[in-house]
Symmetry: C2
Subunit: 500 residues, 2 copies
């Protein structure tokens, strides 16, 4: 037992170094998408590759292994044991990966990002295909090294959401699909029958959009003393604790895109700012996984910010910010635009809530086939288009609105997409639990007050770190098993009946 007093602090110090390197890598990744001069792509790849190598060296340091062994020998209990067990799992994985593979993946991700951006602009899938092939080969090799030889896709999913695998996701998605497809068909038919077309919002000043996005996200609780809002091609949230950076993008003719992207990323940011900083770098100080992460962004974006109550508060401020551009647009028309349902949309990030999860079902299916070896990269565009026709009712006209639309694969982030739909499910369940726990929440929103909801999420989700996986967290927080029911009910309630 004598070693326990020094072993645990030593373990924490070692984990801290890995954490700090992770935050460094994060800032570099943010910079790559926000600031990097076009000619500096190769250099950034070299930087990130070396950083990955150095991080790997820290993650496999013999001193870390010794600290872990000492902690385990000391028989530590409670939360400390949870930290040790998670660190053991990460360490055992890291030591099985050769540093060359780690550095190669980092370099490839950086190169592939720029190749993807160019290929998407040119609508040229073959230009990107070799990078995807390389990423898939690396993912397979990783799976073999980590003992996931026959199940590389399970590893990919587990990477983002500890405790999940393709079978469990597949079962949840089957339940989702069974309820969602008929619901979507019914809503689509109504939209088409009635010819529902939202009002066109055009000529919204970019600087005013920026001010509104910042004002709204600050009002939700995002702390700009510990964060930023910038512009990138693809909105994202990077960072944790005291340095959380959101991005969005601005289009004068699509002001709701910048607003809802900002709110979505702020939902991620609120989670990261709410993690217990004293535990940074350990399992107690990191998010539970991507599905729970996405539940936070989605809950703020959809359940909160698309509600009537939210717009009761925002509308006067929104009109004041864009007076000229909103003249003649009624409150009902504005609210209808916020909750637009657009059948036949092909772009995931532009999809409405009703159709969004269909885009995820598509990607999950294709990733499964790719990893199972049932689908070759060369045949991916065709498969994408076919499945798009089947699920979304429309085939893309080109790769830019089809297989090349998402950034994820350029970073080798396979198994990431499922977390979006799982996050939607969790968000709907959390929303139900929050409304039950906090009566009159809509009245808060109508006054621009979000502190009670944020406080509940802070306690129920943010402060918990990675104590639980998505299943256990959902069970504890909502009293029900993770499933599609609450999401389907929510979508039916908001979009399935007569919409105002």
């Amino acid at each position: 037992m004598t070693t326990s007093y020094s072993a645990y602090p030593e373990l924490l110090a070692r984990l801290r170094r890995i954490h700090v390197l992770g935050t460094l890598t994060g800032v570099l990744g943010w910079d790559e998408q926000v600031n990097l001069p076009p000619g500096a792509a190769a250099r950034r790849g070299e930087q990130l590759s070396l950083l990955a190598e150095l991080t790997h060296a820290e993650a496999t340091a013999p001193a870390l292994g010794a600290a872990l062994a000492n902690c385990e020998a000391a028989g530590l209990a409670g939360e400390v044991a949870l930290v040790v067990a998670a660190a053991r799992r990460d360490y055992d994985r890291a030591v099985k990966l050769p540093v060359e593979l780690v550095a190669e993946k980092a370099r490839l991700s950086s190169e592939a990002y720029h190749a993807w951006a160019a290929a998407r602009a040119a609508r040229d899938f073959p230009a990107f295909a070799p990078f995807l092939e390389k990423h898939l080969a690396l993912a397979r090799r990783e799976a073999e090294l980590l003992g996931y030889g026959g199940r590389p896709y399970d590893l990919a999913i587990d990477r983002h959401d500890p405790g999940l695998d393709a079978v469990r996701v597949g079962a949840l998605f089957a339940e989702l699909r069974a309820g969602l497809v008929p619901l979507v068909r019914r809503i689509d038919a109504r939209v088409q029958l009635r010819g529902e077309r939202p009002v066109a919002l055009r000529g919204f000043d970019i600087e005013a959009q920026r001010r509104v996005a910042r004002m709204v996200t600050a009002r939700l609780g995002f702390d700009y003393d510990r964060g930023r809002l910038d512009v990138s091609l693809h909105p994202f949230c990077e960072g944790t604790g005291d340095d959380v950076r959101l991005t969005t993008r601005f289009d004068p003719d699509n002001p709701l895109d910048s607003l809802y992207s900002s709110i979505h990323e702020a939902g991620h940011g609120l989670y990261e700012q709410g993690l217990p900083s004293v535990h940074a770098g350990t399992a107690l100080g990191v998010a539970a996984g991507l599905a729970v992460h996405e539940s936070q962004s989605r809950l703020w974006e959809n359940q909160v910010a698309r509600s009537r109550a939210f717009w009761t508060w925002l509308e006067p401020e929104y009109r004041a910010a864009f007076s000229g551009s909103l003249a003649g647009v009624t409150a009902d028309a504005l609210h209808a635009a916020v909750n637009e349902v657009a059948p036949g949309g092909l772009i995931r990030v532009d999809a409405d809530e009703v159709h969004y999860n269909l885009h995820i079902l598509l990607r999950f299916e294709l990733e499964k086939r790719l990893f199972a070896g049932d689908l070759a990269v060369a045949d991916l565009p065709q498969a994408w288009d076919d499945l798009s026709g089947e699920l979304l009712g429309r085939r893309p006209a080109h790769a830019g609105e089809g297989v090349l639309q998402d950034v994820h694969w350029s970073g080798g982030a396979f198994g990431y997409f499922p977390s979006y739909a799982l996050g939607n499910m969790i968000a709907a369940q959390l929303w139900g639990a929050a409304r039950a726990a906090l009566p009159g929440l809509e009245h808060d929103f109508a006054r621009g007050e979000f502190g009670r909801l944020l406080g509940w999420l802070r306690g129920t989700v943010h402060a918990q770190g990675r104590r639980e996986d998505a299943f256990a967290l959902t069970r504890r927080a909502t009293g029900a098993e993770l499933g599609a029911g609450a999401l389907l009910e929510y979508l039916n309630e908001r979009y399935g009946r007569e919409v105002g």
Copy 2:
């Protein structure tokens, strides 16, 4: 000799890693001054400290020592020998420094930067003094460890300008002071006698200033595919090769500040973009030193961009960009504003060419006394104010326009200031040589063409890397020894006679 084939590539690979870590540190430093949320200062300090530690580990790696020894044993000659000798010098220094000291200096620099910014805003020197004390103690300890025990200031100077020391700088500055003080007095008297007051330039649109700064720097040759222009409190240039980042700052009532800061930093940036990238990370691919670096920024800022010929080109474009704000300002008035001489100015970065070097003589004198132990940190404000009265003819009203005005000491960058005045001397000498080598240069400028001058600087200075120190480079490039003569002559020619 058999080892030479593998030893040199091994050495280059090792140096490359150190170089890449340096570029990483550079981006983080840039981000700290351009983007960092206020609450993230401590985190950035921790990141930079760990990065300094990892860089130190690379710089002292036994494998690097072995590669060096093998290269030396192989008796390599020519340029390769120069690379080996410079790497040996750096390695021998690095191994004498304990990693704790290196990490501590990085952490301190980050913390002290934020403390300085707050202290300057509050005009509160005592709030910053403890950080300065710590930096001085670290610098003394470093000097002892590196065998500069009795001469810590020499080490500080040598850090920035290999080959220079306090005695050599002191001799050059004595020559400069002897000629400059009477010249300044004469010009000041004329300005005051005639009541020369430049026209007020007010209400210049910030976005238009940004466009002009970018247009002008691009026209000088700065490559924006491999660089950026952003905003920071204190303008600077960070990076090398394919990722060079300039900063400036914008004030509607001081448009020439943003323009000349941008041109100044672009001068640094042109040097960094012009270094031979194939040699990046070796002595052949790095700038000769800070004095030569400053010669590049100053030559573009002053000799080129304050000339009549330059404004012959720029004036129509400048008027088109700021039409309303320049109505009623004659060409002569604008040119007088560009070449304003303002006696009694206290802020170095706002100083005109005539007075600028006096600010440097002041700082050199105080740094010498601090390092010699003749001046305590607590007495520094008094000494600053006294010397300011003596050299500049005016005492600061508060620390913000006195001892706290510069960022350098917060980063422990002692011995840095002399390079500014040395750079002015070198710039004047290079300017003379360029004009002799390139007849009709002013006609180029009047047409907005700067390619011949840039080409000459690329060949004469940029492509040379660190083959020579400031003395040898000046001698080769200009045929004369480094001295104050050319600068005094240039200042006398431009400002000492009747100014148009």
